[in-house]
């Protein structure tokens, strides 16, 4: 059964879209990630125009982050002050990112930059995660105690000026690295259609030294607002948010996520991380091949106002 996507202006098979949403929802529930970095490349592989895939991906991340954020909110594991500072950076970053997006689209280089960013980020994050998880699996096999990594108390980031106290995180920290981190994630949200949790979480733990128990909740808190803002700016600037596509992905996604969570709870942490790492690397390699292999048709047409 086919359904017409009014913004992408093409007909797609509704079951493929629902299947994609459910599969990504399942994986995001299992691994505890937002899924934006999987949904956008999958949509591109399915010939959805990259501009629509990115803008719609940001919209889908809003839905997949809400239920997680609500759970953390109820448990009180959200540092709202820290989240708001990240959010200020994020909103500025998202605004700049959408302008960059528009500029690249006019230049005809948007598809290339999206693919390159995905290859770089998925390759790096996937590689690091695989390295880390394989090491812990080997340590576990040799019955060595898994060393609880104790980050050093201070680094150069903690010597920056304009300090502010964050009670919930028990931190006294400069706002500069927080704003910069928020800005960078905001740019990625609008150019890649991701929530950015896969960069935000490690950066908060290792760079800002935020306690692990508030990291996920705070990151989800700011992701909701940045992706929601990005959706609105993408809708008004690039007219690229496809509400039909996003709706199908969201509904299938939140259902798939529930089953993913159940499976994830039965698996061991390092195995989960290794699985996610392999998945991330596979998507990155597939996108990389698209850039390297000779295309079937070297010409492409853009009609209408974007040229």
């Amino acid at each position: 059964m086919s359904i017409y996507l009014p913004i992408a202006e093409l007909s797609v098979n509704i079951f493929i879209i629902l299947g994609m949403g459910a599969a990504v929802g399942f994986l995001s529930g299992m691994f505890g990630v937002g899924g934006g970095f999987l949904i956008t490349p999958l949509l591109i592989f399915y010939n959805i125009p990259p501009a629509v895939a990115v803008a719609t991906g940001a919209n889908q991340v809003v839905a997949s982050s809400v239920s997680g954020a609500l759970a953390h909110f109820r448990r009180g594991t959200v540092d709202i002050k820290l989240g708001c500072m990240l959010l200020i950076g994020g909103l500025v970053g998202a605004t700049a990112g959408v302008q960059l997006f528009l500029m690249l689209r006019r230049m005809g280089q948007l598809d290339l930059i999206i693919s390159l960013l995905y290859v770089v980020f998925l390759g790096t994050v996937g590689g690091l995660m695989l390295w880390e998880s394989v090491n812990s699996i080997r340590r576990a096999a040799r019955n060595e105690p898994v060393s609880a990594r104790r980050p050093g108390q201070h680094n150069w980031i903690h010597r920056l000026p304009l300090k502010m106290r964050f009670k919930r995180s028990k931190l006294y920290l400069s706002v500069i690295p927080i704003l910069v981190l928020g800005f960078a994630i905001g740019v990625l949200t609008s150019v890649m259609g991701v929530g950015g949790g896969f960069i935000m979480v490690p950066a908060m733990i290792y760079l800002l030294r935020v306690p692990t128990n508030v990291v996920i909740g705070t990151s989800l808190f700011q992701i909701i607002f940045v992706t929601a803002f990005t959706t609105i700016v993408q809708a008004t600037t690039n007219y690229a948010v496809d509400i039909v596509l996003a709706g199908l992905l969201m509904i299938a996604g939140v259902i798939g996520a529930q089953y993913g969570v159940r499976v994830g709870q039965r698996m061991r942490g390092e195995q989960l991380r290794a699985g996610l790492a392999i998945l991330v690397l596979a998507v990155g390699i597939r996108l990389g091949l698209n850039l390297i292999l000779p295309p079937d048709e070297i010409y492409s047409i853009v009609t209408g106002s974007f040229g």
Binding site: V66, S67, M250, Q258, I298, Y299, S300
Partner: protein
């Protein structure tokens, strides 16, 4: 003088997939006088279709529309020996187009060169009584802008290397044909009685919305005689069109709706699947 057969009575409709609006029949008469060629032929061309608006439903997967027409003031002898040829083209709305070409740069394929063309038809469907090259000489067809190869592709702005524009032009026509937007049917026009003809013109599944033009041309022994045209509006029906208009005309409301729906879906799932 024989009374003109009103073309509009011979009318058409077509695939059930089309929801055709009940509008007054559209018809047109030829403009031979204005076209004023070297030769002045007496023949007139009238065409008619049942509607001037086609509404495309969401599950539209392509259809034929039928255009009926007559040749008036015809020469019966020429008609009998098949000296008349008719070409009917459905031209989509004009839109600017940019053709880009990828090249390998440092191992990856990158869009390097591009050529921007003056507005070109977003779709083009042509039907004729015979293959175009046996109807008239290339130069005649080209002068009358008929045939996919004769669609005017005029580069705008700085040309750069003019010798390459031809490649871009051919690529444009090739891709549009592969996408089904440019189509030809060399036997789509048939005479159903002595001087009444029926043309089947293909509407592709991805037909662009907007103002289309049905253009019919009459040829006699390889010479252009006259042409006539009818406007045809293609619109989308229902929710799809509403969504499209909302997204483009009230984009802020649309964006807020998209976010609202996402928040609602996420919130609902946390209620439905709440672990108690």
């Amino acid at each position: 003088m024989t009374a003109r057969i009103s073309a509009s009575l011979a009318v058409c409709l077509l695939a059930s997939a089309l929801t055709l609006g009940l509008t007054a029949p559209a018809s047109a008469q030829s403009d031979a006088a204005e076209e004023g060629g070297v030769w002045s032929f007496p023949e007139q061309l009238d065409i008619g279709i049942s509607t001037n608006e086609i509404a495309i439903s969401p599950n539209f997967s392509g259809a034929d529309i039928f255009v009926f027409g007559t040749i008036a003031e015809q020469d019966d002898f020429l008609l009998a020996i098949g000296a008349y040829d008719i070409i009917v083209a459905l031209e989509g709305p004009l839109r600017p187009a940019t053709v880009r070409r990828k090249e390998r740069v440092a191992g990856i394929w990158v869009n390097r060169h591009s050529v921007r063309f003056e507005p070109v038809p977003a779709s083009y469907s042509i039907s004729s009584t015979r293959p175009l090259d046996s109807i008239a000489k290339q130069i005649v067809l080209s002068a009358n802008d008929v045939g996919i190869q004769n669609i005017r592709l005029i580069p705008t702005g700085g040309l750069g290397d003019a010798s390459q524009v031809g490649d871009f032009r051919q690529a444009m026509l090739r891709i549009m044909q592969q996408a089904g937007l440019y189509q030809r049917d060399p036997s789509g026009v048939k005479f159903v009685s002595k001087n009444l003809f029926k043309a089947a013109v293909r509407l592709p599944a991805n037909i662009p919305v907007g103002e289309h033009t049905v253009r019919a041309e009459l040829y006699r022994n390889g010479q252009y005689v006259t042409q006539t045209r009818i406007r045809l509006r293609v619109v989308k029906t229902g929710l799809e069109q509403f969504t499209y208009n909302l997204a483009h005309q009230h984009s802020l409301i649309y964006g807020l709706l998209a976010v609202g729906f996402a928040l609602f879906t996420g919130w609902l799932s946390s209620i439905v699947f709440r672990k108690d």
